[in-house]
Structures are given as C-alpha cells and as structure tokens.
C-alpha cells in the first residue's frame, strides 16, 4: 500500500503554501513594519521656547539612526523616525500621538518631551493597547509606576532621584533653607514633590516657592518670583524649569543681589541656559553664570574619554542631522553638541539594541520582552543599562555639574558650596 499518494502530496504542498502566505501576511500586517523600514513616531517641541529640547533630542537620535541605516539598518530594515511638532503643548501631543498610531501606524513611540505630554499620552497607549513609548525626555513618575508603568521604558534617572540627590548634597554642606522656583504644571510639581520629600528626610521643609507659566520666555519678567523667594531668605534655590525661564529668573535674581546658589535639574538644557546668560553677561557687564548647579542624567559632553561621547560627537560631525522643522526662534543660540543631544543619542543606541534583539520578524508584542532582556548593557557612557525585575528604568546615574569660568564641570568637592561652617 502506498501511504503517500501524489494527491496527498499536492494537498500538503498547497497547505504549506497557504500557511507560508498567511505567515507573510501576518508579518506584513504588523503596524509600522515593512520589508524595508521600521516606522518610529516622535512628538516633541520643535518650535517655541522649548524647541531646543526637541531639536537636540532629535539630532542626537538621528546621528545614531543615520549611522545604523548607513550600515544596512536593523535586520535589513532602515529606521525611519517620523517627528511631529507639539510646541510643548500637551493637547497637541495627544493629536500627534493619534496621528502616529492611527494614521501613520508607527511601530513604537520614541523621544517624547515633557511631563505633561507623557501624562496625556499614557492613557491613549493604555486604551489602544498597541505601541509602547521608549525613552521620553522626562523624569516624572507617571511612566515609571502603575497603572502606566508597563507602557513605557526609560533610560534616564527620575526627577525624584535628581532632586533627592541635590537636596542631600546641599543639606550636607549646610544649605537648610531651600526655596523652589518651578514651572506651574506637572513637570514643576514632579520636581517640587521630589524636593519636598528630600527635605522631609532631613526634617526640613521648603522655605519659599514661586511658580511661572509654561512657555515663559527669557525676555519675560521674573521680578515677582524673585521678590517672593528673596523674602524667604533662602540659602539655595532649586529651579524646576525650562532653560529660557530659568535663565530669565537667574538674571532677575542676580540683578537685585539675590546671589545664592541656584540649582537646576536635567530637563533644563544647561548649555542653552548658559548661552543665554553669557550673552546677557556681556550686554550688562556682569557675570550671570556664577553659583549655578545643574544635574545631568548623561555624562559631560566634553568627557571624550567615554566611548559614547566620542561616537556621539563623531557622528554629529559626520551626519550633522538637521531638525525636521525650521528654527522658529531665530537668534536663540544653538550648539553643535549638547547634553540633550547626547541623551537622544544614548536613547537611540539602546533602542537599536532592543530592535536587534527583537529579531528579523519584529512584533509589537515582543517589544517589552526584548527590552526586558537588557541586563548590564554597556553603552559606553560610563554606566550599564539594565531593565531588572520589571523595573522600566535603565539608568540611575545622576551627574552634578557647576559653572566654572562660564562652563559646566562635574563637581568634585561639594565643600566649595559649604555655608554656616558646615563640613
């Protein structure tokens, strides 16, 4: 008896062909994936007062993506970063997100900027249960804890870590009267809470606080905020702001003789802030760059001993990526390398690694597992990236810099800021 007939073989062959066809169709049906590229969606401010954040993050990420694409992409697919401008307005972020997910059908979201923007995006991701958000430029808690923690992956340390570290260092050198200048929104509140909690640990409290409106410009007046905070007689002020407003506040404070230490966190683009202050220092004949601290979540861009910094600078020089929108605030200083740009570059490096691990047939369903497989990855930035035990933050590194001769340098000795005879 012939067990395998010709008819049976024909039927089997047709079945196999159909299975293969379905498999190909299923793969092709994955949003944002084609045979040639992977569509990555981004919403960030490319115009307006916080445009430098979107521009620099985009340029840093593109330096990496262009290099990867030049080498053939990830598993033969080019990385296609599609960015929309939200002007640092959360409602526009919502519109952009819907455009990216429902119309453009991006495979994943990347490099969103701002706490409020992310706060508004997370419920959309929860509802659609489709794409994940990778490496937003915010240290807020919303995307780090339930109910939305599983929808996002972060590279940078949180604002809680930045502010807690700042408070610990300042208190250690005698600064017990700490006031807060912050943006009147979720970003500002996130930093405010971190400072409050940090001070509570030392049995202290915020001695004075003043807010400003999101989108404030360097040319705006901050005299009222300075008056309010000066009345609290602080030893130090921690600013939770964007670079233009922070620079405006510092200038206003120095003009009336409020010369206390002013510390900023990483969302404040230190290089953009310094550029504004240096220009005003020349105009006004006084140095506004003194007694400033800025936390960073990436290493110093001048630390070329680090492989990641060297690569970032080399690839920026090679490709010189241009932001997708024209600069809307002409006259604002721009810089070739920046800490935000380096953060974008490291974000992109880590994303490429995740996509590599996702394999030749990438699916959204496999993204979280691919990301979670990152343990002890050396990005060449002086720290290793790990998503351990369900934690969706890869780095805890916070760097503390202060101004020396008009430039930010890593703080070696906090004793230089000691007051009241503190050790």
């Amino acid at each position: 008896m012939r067990l395998v007939t010709a008819g049976w073989m024909r039927t089997s062959a047709v079945a196999w062909l159909l299975c293969a066809l379905f498999a190909v169709q299923a793969q092709a049906a994955e949003d944002g994936i084609t045979d040639h590229d992977i569509l990555i969606g981004m919403s960030a401010p490319f115009k307006g007062t916080s445009a430098n954040l979107g521009r620099e993050l985009y340029r840093g990420a593109m330096a990496c993506f262009l290099d990867v694409n030049a080498a053939g992409g990830v598993h033969g697919r080019l990385l296609n970063l599609r960015a929309y401008d939200d002007g640092y307005q959360p409602q526009r972020t919502v519109t952009n997100t819907l455009q990216l997910l429902q119309t453009d059908q991006a495979f994943l979201l990347f490099g969103y900027v701002g706490t409020d923007a992310v706060e508004r995006t997370l419920p959309i991701l929860q509802k659609l249960q489709s794409a994940l958000l990778f490496f937003p430029l915010t240290g807020a808690e919303a995307q780090r804890r339930p109910p939305y923690g599983a929808l996002a992956f972060n590279l940078r340390a949180s604002y809680r870590q930045e502010t807690a570290g700042l408070v610990d260092h300042l208190v250690a050198v005698g600064h017990e009267r700490i006031a807060v200048f912050y943006q009147a929104d979720a970003y500002g509140r996130s930093g405010w809470v971190g400072i409050q909690d940090g001070l509570k640990k030392h049995g202290l409290h915020i001695v004075g606080e003043a807010t400003y409106a999101r989108g404030a410009r360097y040319s705006d007046t901050f005299d009222r905020q300075v008056t309010i905070l000066a009345a609290a007689h602080p030893d130090a002020i921690i600013s939770i702001g964007a670079h233009a407003a922070t620079a405006g506040f510092i200038r206003a404070a120095r003009r009336v003789g409020l010369n206390v230490l002013i510390a900023n966190i990483s969302f404040n683009s230190s290089s953009s802030m310094l550029a504004l202050l240096k220009a005003s220092s020349i105009e006004d004949g006084r140095d506004y760059t003194k007694a400033l601290i800025n936390t960073m979540v990436v290493p110093d861009i001048n630390n070329v001993e680090l492989r990641a910094v060297r690569e970032y600078r080399a690839l920026i020089d090679r490709y010189n990526p241009q932001p997708p929108f024209e600069q809307a605030t002409p006259g604002e200083p721009t810089e070739r390398y920046s800490s935000i740009g380096l953060e974008g570059f490291l974000d992109a490096r880590l994303l490429v690694e995740i996509l590599q691990r996702l394999g030749a047939n990438p699916t959204r369903a496999g993204l979280a597992a691919a990301a979670a497989s990152i343990h002890g990855l050396d990005l060449g930035a002086g720290f290793t990236a790990s998503f351990l035990q369900g934690r969706n933050q890869a780095s805890d590194m916070v760097y503390y810099n202060s101004t020396v001769g008009g430039r930010f340098q890593m703080i070696d000795d906090w004793g230089q800021f000691a007051i009241h005879g503190a050790k």
């Binding site: 409602q91 808690e141 919303a142 003043a210 807010t211």
Partner: protein, 240 residues
C-alpha cells in the same frame, strides 16, 4: 406731520408707557440672565470640583502628585476656570495652578472653606470658588475658582442682545404709533379745514374731491362734517 393738540398728551403718555416697558423689560432681563448665568457658573464650579475630587481619590491613592497636577492642568484649560488647588488633610497645598504663588487670602484658609464663596483677588479678579472634599475630607479637598468676569461678559453679551431687540421694538412702536395717529388725525384736520371753509375763513381749504370724501365718511368725522354743513345751510336759509 401736524399733530392734533388734543392727542399730544395721549401721545406723550404712550411714549412714556413704551419707555417704561422697555426699561422694565431690560431690567428684568438683566436680573434673570444674571441670576441664571451666575447659578450656572456656580453649578459648573461644583460639578468640576466634584469631578476632580472623585478623580483625585484614585490619583492621590495610586499615583503621584504630579499626575494630580496634570489633572488640574487639564481642567484649567476649560474656559472660565480661573484657578484650581488641592490641599491635603492637613491643609497643605499639594497642587495648584497659581502664578507666581498662592494668594495670601486663600493660603490662610488652608482649604477649609468648602461652601461657595465670592472672592476678589489681586491679579486674578472676581471669582466664585467652591470646594469638594476628597474621600470625605480624609485626603483633603479640591477647590475650583470660576472667573466671574466671564459671567459678567456673558451677561453683558446676553443683555446687550436683549436690549438691542427691545430698542428696535421701541423705535418700531413709536414709528407705528406715529403712522396710526397720522391716519387717525387726518379726517380731523380735514374736518377743521371744512369748518373753516364753511365759516368763510379759508374758502379753498379743501378740494371738491376732498369735501365729497369727507362728507361721505361713515364715521364721526363724516357725521360732524354733515352736521356742520346742515348748520351752515340752516343759517344761510338753504334747505338741507
């Protein structure tokens, strides 16, 4: 148009009445619109306040204060919402939308006033503020300030439209009353002209057609005209 002296007083009375109607209607309209919109704003404030209070329960218990701030920021975008703030159970301000600081008047109350209260705040203006407890006050309270200038603006707009309509009606009423009065007084003028003509004071006051038309009227003017003619004929010995 020549007004009959007999009607001048009545005409003034009519205009006065129209004016009184217009003014009283406008006043009633202002009062009603003011009351309704103010009530609507107060209700909106309470609704928003309750909504945030309900939403805040989950956010405060399961999430971060910055998420609560994001919630306030979203509500702050609603037209007419002047400010929002949340105090914890100790009366400490844990989230708010004030720039550059919490006004002293509000700060001193520590979120204890939950009833509707009208405030006039420097730099903010007049507001109606209402508060709602979070978890029956165990987790603090949320407060919403509604901009009363928005109410005033809406009232001015609504009242302006009403007064505009009433003014048009008033002007139309005067025009119509003038026209009607003119129609009513024309036969009287003709009658007076006819009387003067019969008395020989103004021999050609009326044309032949006007005289025939006057005498042919079946109202009081026609009757009087015929009586004048009868009297005039009696005096001159002509048989009527």
């Amino acid at each position: 148009m020549k007004t009959v002296k007999l009607f001048r007083g009545s005409l003034f009375g009519i205009y006065l009445l129209f004016g009184l109607i217009a003014v009283s209607t406008s006043a009633l309209c202002i009062y009603t619109v003011n009351k309704q919109l103010s009530h609507e704003y107060a209700v909106n404030s309470v609704t928003i306040s309750h909504a945030i209070a309900n939403a805040s329960q989950d956010v405060l218990l399961t999430r971060d204060v910055s998420s609560l701030q994001a919630l306030l920021d979203q509500y702050h975008e609603i037209q007419g919402v002047s400010y929002l703030y949340v105090t914890d159970e100790h009366g400490d301000f844990i989230a708010h939308t004030f720039i550059p600081e919490v006004p002293a008047e509000i700060f001193s109350e520590h979120g204890k006033r939950l009833e509707a209260v009208e405030r006039n705040l420097t730099g903010i203006g007049e507001v109606i503020e209402v508060g709602s407890p979070i978890v029956e006050g165990l987790a603090g309270s949320v407060h919403v300030g509604m901009d009363e200038s928005m109410v005033a603006l809406k009232i001015r707009s609504a009242v302006g439209k009403q007064v505009y309509l009433i003014s048009i009606l008033f002007i139309l009423s005067i025009a119509v009353s003038f026209w009607l009065l003119n129609r009513a007084t024309t036969p009287l003028h003709r009658l007076a002209d006819y009387a003067r003509q019969l008395a020989g004071l103004q021999p050609k006051a009326l044309t032949e057609e006007e005289t025939v038309a006057l005498l042919g009227r079946n109202d009081e003017a026609g009757e009087l005209a015929r009586l004048y003619r009868h009297l005039a004929n009696s005096q001159s010995g002509v048989q009527p």
